[in-house]
């Protein structure tokens, strides 16, 4: 007897339909799975056998062949357990075939027949929603799956329940999210800028970075609060839209990082990989590609603490995704494209010992050591940082300890407004914020008056600024003007922007 049921697999962040065919014939009792299954798929034999038996059904002592089509792509993971079990039960006529009802089965089986949640449900459903609209899946995946509209979701807790439904013993009821729809979607933050006392200069710089989507590097001695500040950056980034949240959730689902019953990621992610990270962990990789840290930071913040300590080749792989907002990973099994639109925030000590610029003059590094330390970050990567922030040492922070900081909500309101200005200005340019401005667009949108030009000229000669700073100062001035709701860039916008280029300065002749 032959039966066919549908299941789905995932490659990158895209799902595809898999046909699971089960043939049962007389012969020696064998259970074979073909169609490039990996180890976790092959092991499903044991789970399926036990789950069928322990749910009170009969496991045929015959020759069982399971084929998973398309047979030329590699299958991974335990999500096909349920489809195989249903296929076997159908082939042995323990479940009748239902006309006009050919759902997609997703789910891992435990030995007692309970359905366990699987990864990647959201991206799978988003990819197949046009052709299939009945999904049977484990109850724990229901919340996540219900983000996809126009689909009938049938969650079940055990194989037994499912079979009795399919036998017509009880009714199939599509899942409805409790109060659940889009309007319930709300962004939430744990960390708030009001927790940070003082540090006004740093906060202002981060506000500008958030408003213009600028990448920023923070330079400061150890323990000055760089990580604390960076962690709070997502809370002042522009409001997360539903579509953005869906994209983030898709990636997290594919990576298996959704928490139980977390239907939707409702906050901007903050990823802070350790500096020993490998390049494939950073950008994604694996035999069947999985998203890396930069994709997990999609629409959020990628924070590289102590950036000079990262391996050089690891840092260099960041350049292309920073430019394109996505990363394509090619492997023998095919190439997958992951979105990776993130804000890069890096931190570094000012010098190897960390005390350069400290008021106590404790620094013992030679100028050569200092330039070599920050020189570990290549020029092209350094060029991606529009804003340089100097985080003061603790001795300067004590001064303003007792003041209450401004809350993230207030800052975010200003950021939202500035972003709105940018989106409006760039409607015909295919970009959304100032950090994306190319050289040509800078000439077009960052026009400065004579006073501004004079200031730039004087600043470059008197501060020994390097030439590469010019465009970056213009971009940042544009953002400062946007924050002030000013249509034109004024000289004082430029004057402020010049202060965020510390690393281009040569302090002494």
């Amino acid at each position: 007897m032959l039966s066919k049921v549908k299941s789905a697999g995932i490659f990158g962040v895209n799902g595809y339909i898999i046909d699971v065919e089960v043939d049962i014939s007389n012969g020696l009792p064998v259970f074979d799975i073909v169609g490039l299954p990996d180890l976790s798929v092959r092991e499903s034999k044991e789970r399926v056998r036990a789950a069928i038996k322990n749910s009170g059904f009969e496991f045929p002592i015959k020759r069982i062949t399971v084929n998973m089509a398309p047979a030329n792509t590699k299958k991974e993971g335990p999500a096909f357990d349920l489809a195989i079990a249903i296929g076997i039960l159908m082939a042995t006529e323990q479940i009748p075939a239902i006309d006009n009802f050919d759902p997609v089965y997703l789910g891992e089986l435990s030995l007692d027949g309970t359905l366990r949640p699987v990864n990647g449900v959201l991206p799978m459903l988003l990819s197949i929603r046009d052709d299939y609209n009945n999904i049977i899946l484990p109850k724990d995946n229901a919340e996540e799956a219900s983000n996809v509209s126009n689909m009938n979701i049938y969650p079940f807790e055990t194989l037994q329940e499912l079979v009795s439904c399919l036998r017509g013993e009880s009714k199939l009821i599509p899942y409805n999210r409790a109060k659940g729809n889009k309007s319930n979607f709300k962004i939430s933050f744990v960390e708030d800028f009001s927790d940070v006392k003082g540090q006004e200069g740093v906060k202002r710089a981060l506000e500008i970075a958030a408003a213009g989507g600028h990448n920023a590097i923070m330079i400061g001695p150890p323990g000055s609060g760089k990580t604390m500040l960076a962690k709070r950056l997502p809370s002042i980034l522009p409001d997360l839209t539903y579509d953005e949240a869906l994209e983030i959730t898709k990636i997290y689902s594919a990576a298996g990082m959704l928490k139980e019953n977390e239907g939707m990621i409702s906050y901007r992610p903050f990823m802070s990989p350790h500096h020993t990270i490998s390049s494939s962990a950073l950008v994604g990789g694996g035999r069947i590609p999985v998203p890396g840290q930069i994709s997990l930071a999609h629409h959020g913040v990628l924070f590289l603490d102590e950036i000079p300590e990262f391996k050089k080749d690891v840092l260099e792989v960041l350049r292309q995704p920073l430019e394109d907002g996505e990363i394509t990973i090619s492997r023998a099994s095919g190439s997958a494209t992951f979105p990776a639109k993130f804000m890069l925030i890096a931190s570094a000590n000012p010098c190897p010992c960390g005390f350069l610029g400290d008021d106590s003059n404790k620094c013992i590094c030679t100028p050569h050591q200092i330039s070599r330390y920050l020189g570990k970050i290549s020029g092209p990567l350094m060029d991606r940082f529009d804003i340089h922030i100097e985080v003061p040492s603790l001795s300067f922070q004590k001064i303003s300890r007792n003041e209450k900081g401004e809350s993230s909500v207030n800052i975010r309101a200003r950021v939202n407004k500035a972003r709105a200005n940018q989106v409006q200005r760039y409607t015909n340019d295919g970009i959304y914020y100032n950090a994306q401005l190319g050289p040509k667009q800078i000439r077009k949108y960052c026009k400065i008056d004579q006073a501004g030009k004079n200031l730039m000229e004087q600043a470059f000669s008197s501060m020994n600024l390097s030439a590469r700073a010019y465009d970056r100062i213009l971009k940042v001035s544009r953002t400062i003007a946007d924050l002030e709701n000013s249509a034109n860039i004024q000289a004082y916008h430029i004057a402020e922007a010049i202060q965020y280029r510390s690393l281009d300065r040569q302090y002494w002749p």
Binding site: E200, G201, G357, S400, S462
Partner: protein
């Protein structure tokens, strides 16, 4: 002709490894000239082994060949540097008076002007912002008053002193601890090239010599020896600048020092020598009066720079010295964005200087 020949052999003898100024002078005195050393019989030189060391004698004997001669004539004809011996007019007069004047100097840049008064400025290689500013300021004002500024072309105070003198379009001499063809420390490359153009660089070490640690204390005796006084800007407790002070005292030269904050490590050395009797310098006049120079009235008019209300506020807040951005914001009650803009304006106008770590200080010439 005799004179030229003698210069030739001076260069030869002084370039032999292991022969310093003292051994050079002892040998020429013993044999009656460097040329005589070249001609001296082997046995006679070998007899000197207990005094010179057998290695040195071996080198003298071994380097008496044509190949060495070629090398020396190439050096004498070199276009990138010149050789100044103790016998030449350009040789600094004051330096001749010390106990062990270097017989040969290799020089680059402008000729040394002997009749001008000279002061050496030395100090820490890691000075504070205050130290850097004072080094530049005092060098500028001394050079402006016609004093030659001598220093060691090192990091920190040395570099700032040279820059100050160059800024005033004055004369300045840098003394190296390595060969004339070397740039050490490498980050002073820019300074080296402007010194070659508008100042003078000299060294007693033959071309190709590496900047080994032992060279620098010996170099310091030339710095103090060339000048009538040594001004110490900032020095740690065991700073090389204090070695220069020791040489100055040995050579009978004046010692000046700039007082510093007693809590700062870089002031430990200067405050110590002040206690021991160095002349305290708070303004350039303190040095000029020792040199017998009448200071010209300052014609600088600061009124040419116009400051607006906010700029004046920030300028006033910097009255007591360096301030961090956060401190300034608190003191002036200005928002950070406004303050940042104002600080850039002040920097551009040359009134305020920014130091690493968002610390601001008034410019000395503001």
């Amino acid at each position: 002709m005799e004179q030229v020949d003698e210069k030739f052999f001076w260069v030869w003898l002084s370039g032999i490894p292991g022969i310093g100024a003292r051994k050079f002078h002892a040998l020429t005195k013993y044999f009656g000239g460097a040329h005589k050393v070249w001609q001296a019989p082997k046995e006679k030189l070998t007899q000197l082994s207990p005094y010179l060391g057998s290695n040195v004698v071996y080198e003298i004997i071994n380097q008496r060949d044509n190949k060495t001669l070629d090398g020396i004539s190439r050096m004498l004809n070199s276009s990138s540097f010149r050789i100044i011996t103790l016998l030449d007019d350009e040789y600094p007069d004051l330096l001749k008076q010390i106990y062990d004047p270097p017989p040969v100097l290799y020089g680059k840049g402008c000729p040394i002007i002997n009749h001008k008064p000279a002061i050496s400025i030395v100090g820490s290689r890691r000075p504070t912002g205050y130290g850097r500013q004072m080094a530049e300021k005092l060098a500028y004002e001394l050079a402006e008053a016609g004093v030659t500024i001598v220093s060691g072309l090192a990091r920190g105070v040395d570099a700032m002193a040279h820059y100050g003198a160059l800024k005033a379009k004055g004369t300045t001499v840098g003394v190296l601890g390595c060969g004339i063809d070397r740039v050490y420390p490498p980050e002073n490359k820019k300074l080296f090239s402007s010194m070659e153009e508008k100042g003078t660089i000299i060294t007693e070490y033959p071309p190709g010599s590496a900047p080994v640690a032992g060279n620098f204390p010996a170099r310091n005796r030339i710095i103090s020896g060339m000048t009538s006084g040594v001004l110490v800007i900032e020095a740690g407790e065991r700073s090389g600048a204090l070695i220069t002070v020791d040489f100055a005292l040995e050579q009978g030269r004046d010692v000046y020092a700039l007082p510093g904050n007693i809590n700062v490590a870089q002031s430990a050395g200067t405050n110590k020598i002040l206690k021991e009797g160095a002349k305290l310098v708070t303004e350039v006049q303190d040095i000029l009066e020792e040199l017998g120079i009448q200071k010209k009235k300052l014609k600088k008019d600061t009124a040419s720079v116009q400051l607006d209300f906010f700029e004046t506020q920030v300028y006033n807040a910097l009255q007591e010295g360096e301030r961090h951005l956060e401190e300034l914001s608190k003191e002036t009650k200005m928002d950070i964005n406004k303050l940042n803009a104002v600080l850039t304006m002040l920097e551009v106008k040359g009134i305020v200087k920014q130091m690493p770590g968002k610390i601001f200080i008034r410019n000395w010439d503001a």
